[in-house]
């Protein structure tokens, strides 16, 4: 295999694996967070507003971990620096 196809293959597979593994952790964490928040709301419905606000902020912070993985896989697929380097090498 020449270097161009090796770089393409590695980038695509890595992007997929990055997205797949990177979303497991945040998903588990968000599940736990929602579970905790729901049982707290069920126990104390009066505190619903502050609980919901804290829940959303926490969820977004967990979500951002998955978003980092997504950004990296987007860079690997669409704006890959190694790919442009290899193409430039192969072209000239």
């Amino acid at each position: 295999m020449d270097s161009v196809s090796i770089v393409a293959l590695t980038s695509i597979i890595t992007a997929g694996i990055c997205m797949a593994i990177g979303s497991i952790g945040p998903a588990l964490g968000q599940g736990r967070a929602v579970h905790g928040a729901l049982s707290s709301i069920a126990q104390q419905p009066d505190e619903r507003n502050s609980l919901t606000r804290t829940l959303f902020v926490g969820l977004a912070m967990m979500e951002s971990i998955a978003i980092y993985c997504f950004v990296i896989s987007m860079i690997l697929v669409f704006a890959n620096p190694f790919w442009t380097y290899v193409i430039k090498k192969a072209g000239g």
């Binding site: 977004a60 980092y68 987007m74």
Partner: protein, 238 residues
Amino acid sequence: MEIVDINQIGPDLVIFFAWHFITINATIVYTWLIMAILVIGSILITRNLSTGLTMSRWQNLLEVIVGTIRSEIQEIVGDKADRYFSFIGTLFLFILMSNVLTFVPGYVAPTSSLTTTSALAILVFFAVPMYGITKQGLIEYLKEYFRPNVIFFPFHVMGELSRTLSLAVRLFGNIMSHEKVIAILLAVTPLFFPVAMQALGLLIGILQAYIFVVLTMVYIAAATQSHEGAEHKHKGHH
């Protein structure tokens, strides 16, 4: 109408106008658009304010927005809200406006470009120590970096840098990923699903604006209050 190609990340590469070294891309144009909407809207509304019982509906809107932001700041920073109001309010309104306008065809949110979000995060990066220093004084603020002891200094610095990065990438990633999802759905299931996703996008945009601002307030609260808390505890022991 999509003006950003599907294999471009962000609207930075869509160039409207280029002359020598000046290039005006879509990010700049839409940032200017939002600035114009906010500035002209505020000028028009505040031109004739009334203090009586009757007021225009626009003044009512502005009073609701300002009152809500002020009470949120009061709740989180727990301080006089007016000092932080101009900075935090501007950040919130700018991000909110840029995220919410995405349902207009042909519009690309400037926050879906990493340059805009990095600029906002760098503003926060410089504003937090500024507020901390004006509140506590330079020496007291710098002492925070060596708490609980000297070994923690590099970790504090690393924390400041990484939270700036995460602020920028979080906003950028959320908005950009949403635009990509809509673009892909447009290619796969054209009619109904993209509309539903756009409705979800409004929620995500408002939530991300809120989260950006809440995190900024939490950082400002940490920079201005932590020492007071410690001193208070110290006094309590005696």
